[in-house]
């Protein structure tokens, strides 16, 4: 079953319009899918480590819904550009002391970092909700709670195993690691092979090549 689900994702990547750019020691690839959704992946040029994956959905018929916006949603990595306050129609933003959740993968495991968590390691309780395919992080002092999932595992419909899960705490940061199963490693290798065929423009070239 994972073979077919794997190929669904590979097919989706293959059928998308791709544009590649080499910039700052990073390979940036911009995908445009059939339904006007865009995705950008940034790999480290030397280690081929996926640093950033972000998504954006442009509003198609002028009807703005919650899913469409002009800004990117980050699946992996973080948005380092500061957003202007004028953009904030809500009039309310989380204070700078709130914990910041981000995903930064390594070659052999998925890694999730939550910064600004000052509590000691025994306040955290990490469990897996198999029905909803989610990881649940609780705190004994009821200060932080998060339900999250790892989309790469969901794309291949792999089971969530407690053995692969571990966490540690240092410098006010909670680091959660989940070992990548073999299926994921194979998939990544396949994606890299596909991308080798892509013509990467170097920075300074005039136009981005579109495959």
């Amino acid at each position: 079953m994972t073979e077919t689900t794997k190929s669904v994702w590979i097919e989706k990547l293959k059928s998308a319009k791709k544009a590649g750019l080499l910039q700052n020691d990073r390979k940036k690839i911009h995908y445009t899918f059939d339904d006007q959704t865009e995705m950008v992946e940034e790999y480290d040029a030397k280690t081929n480590l996926l640093l950033i994956r972000k998504w954006r959905q442009k509003p198609s018929s002028g009807l703005k819904t919650a899913a469409t916006s002009d800004s990117w949603t980050f699946e992996i990595g973080q948005n380092y550009e500061t957003r202007p306050i004028a953009d904030n129609t809500l009039g309310m933003i989380e204070s700078t002391t709130t914990p910041i959740f981000s995903r930064n993968d390594k070659n052999d495991c998925f890694e999730i970092r939550i910064r600004n968590l000052p509590y000691s390691i025994d306040t955290y309780q990490l469990t897996i909700d198999k029905d909803k395919r989610e990881f649940v992080l609780r705190t004994t002092n009821k200060k932080y709670f998060k339900r999250f999932s790892i989309t790469d595992l969901d794309r291949l419909n792999l089971p969530l195993e407690e053995n692969n899960l571990s966490y540690s705490h240092a410098n006010n940061t909670l680091i959660i690691t989940y070992k990548k199963p073999k299926a994921i490693l194979d998939l990544e290798k396949q994606v890299h092979d596909e991308l080798k065929n892509l013509n990467m423009k170097k920075e300074g070239d005039s136009d981005c090549a579109v495959n």
Binding site: S60, S61, L63, T65, A66, A67, I85, N88, T89, L90, G91, M92, I93, E94, S95, T96, T97, T98, R138, T139, K142, K143, Y144, F145, K146, R147
Partner: protein, 467 residues
């Protein structure tokens, strides 16, 4: 020198919904069981078993929403429950399905043509359900802290802590949010939900854990549980609008004001075509859903031949609602022609209609209806009084006896009795005439009434004699 200080205690009146009982407000539904058979007395409906069963079948068709342009005619003598059945259908459909009720003579307006009035009525009966996923921040307020800047001028800054059962977060507040929170008078212990897209704050109530804070609270205070899980949630919000509302909003600038004032005027067909295309596009993308509803036209014999031809055509469109018409006319002239036709409706439209008839009520059915109306109008009657009313209803008309209920209750209240007795009913019967007695009265005394045939001829002969 001490002026007596009158401290006026302001009476805080709770604005509760004061409902006036109307002629059909006792009807809650069609009163059918699971196999669509009508129960004798149920949900405010009495008798008319065949007609109600037929209406139940139509109801199932409407609920499925797949078939457009069907039409139903309810025909029967006056006072046999035609409008009541239509009201039963409306109640049974619920508030999700658009139900427009109108009378035939409403078509004739000086402001817009007949076809425009009919088109608007049709489009008012078709709803568009738009699903939107909105992100909410829902939590209990732990504390709000708003600081005015030291210099006196400049924007206020503030912090608010929101929590759920599992987590809490501190938010920095901007000017807009501070104003909104102060306007809503949000305090610590309130459970609020903030729509991230619009910034609207809704107070859901007060948290149970803070119930013991104050000994006395206002009458409107509601207590709710502290929300669970994450603070930011995605909820599906469903908006239902009718096609007519979309037309009006797009018909001119500031069009939405016309929705409130009712002065819509004629809407161009180009606007309507554009709207149809847009809605079809949304349907394909899955953003919106069409909800066909019901248009009920009472006294349909008031429509003229042009309206009927328009109806023929309009029913053939695939965006047409279900049309229910009612009339109490027999074979009569079609307005706008010299032809006679059953119910005053041309035969080609009659062909398209499913017809159900209503029969006059039996004695025990009338008694049941009167009992239900007494309950609805909050009147206690003795059994004798009820029997007398039933007899009156059978001999004169159902409506007359229903009207006597409230009148006799007023008389009984005047003599400080708890329930209506036969004397009260007799009294009201003597004072208010029904249609039959009024006609008899006229025939006896018509020469004394103005503008009747008898005195007119007398005057003519007199004036002739004078000249």
């Amino acid at each position: 020198m001490d002026a007596p200080s009158t401290t006026q205690v302001q009476q805080v009146r709770e604005i509760t919904r004061i409902e006036r009982t109307g002629a059909h407000s006792h009807i809650r539904g069609l009163g059918l069981n699971d196999s669509l058979e009508a129960r004798a007395v149920s949900q405010g409906m009495v008798g008319q078993l065949k007609a109600r069963r037929a209406a139940g079948l139509i109801l199932e068709m409407i609920k499925e929403g797949k078939i457009a342009g069907r039409a139903l005619l309810i025909a029967g003598q006056p006072g046999t429950g035609k409008t009541a059945i239509a009201m039963g259908i409306a109640q049974a459909l619920g508030s999700d399905t658009p139900f427009t009720a109108m009378s035939g003579s409403e078509i004739f307006s000086l402001e817009m043509s007949k076809t425009e009035a009919l088109t608007q009525a049709f489009r008012r009966s078709i709803g568009v359900r738009i699903k939107e996923e909105a992100e909410f921040i829902e939590g209990e307020v732990v504390e709000i802290q708003i600081d005015r800047p030291a210099t006196g001028t400049g924007a206020k800054i503030g912090k608010m802590t929101l929590k759920t059962t599992e987590m809490e977060t501190i938010y920095d507040l901007g000017q807009k949010m501070i104003e909104a929170l102060t306007k809503e008078k949000v305090q610590a212990g309130d459970v609020i939900a903030i729509d991230k897209a619009s910034g609207k704050i809704s107070r859901l109530g007060r948290s149970f854990t803070r119930a013991k804070d104050y000994d006395a609270m206002g009458p409107q205070t509601k207590f709710v549980q502290c929300p669970e899980g994450e603070l930011q949630k995605r909820k599906e919000v469903v908006h239902t609008v009718t096609l007519h509302e979309i037309d009006v909003i797009n018909s001119r600038s500031q069009g939405f004001l016309a929705l409130f004032s009712g002065d819509t005027g004629e809407i161009k067909s180009e606007v309507r075509e554009q709207i149809n295309d847009k809605v079809a596009e949304w349907r394909e993308e899955g953003k919106a859903e069409i909800v066909p509803g019901v248009l009920f036209i009472d006294e349909v014999h008031m429509l003229d031949i042009e309206c009927f031809s328009f109806l023929n055509r309009a029913l053939e469109s695939d965006m047409a609602p279900i049309l229910i018409v009612a009339t109490n006319r027999g074979i009569t002239k079609i307005r706008g022609t010299n032809q006679q036709s059953p119910h005053g409706i041309p035969i080609d439209l009659l062909d398209r209609l499913l017809i159900i008839t209503t029969k006059p009520y039996e004695l025990d059915e009338i008694k049941q209806i009167l009992k239900i109306r007494c309950e609805e109008e909050d009147v206690e009657t003795s059994d004798d009084a009820l029997n007398v009313l039933t007899k009156i209803g059978k001999e004169t008309s159902l409506r007359y006896s229903i009207q006597l209920i409230t009148l006799s209750s007023i008389i009984s209240r005047n003599r400080k009795a708890r329930e209506v007795s036969i004397e009260d009913v007799k009294r009201v019967y003597e004072v208010f005439l029904d249609e039959a007695r009024s006609s008899d009265n006229l025939r006896e005394y018509e020469q004394y009434f103005m503008f009747n045939d008898l005195s007119n001829t007398k005057q003519e002969t007199e004036s002739k004699m004078e000249t």
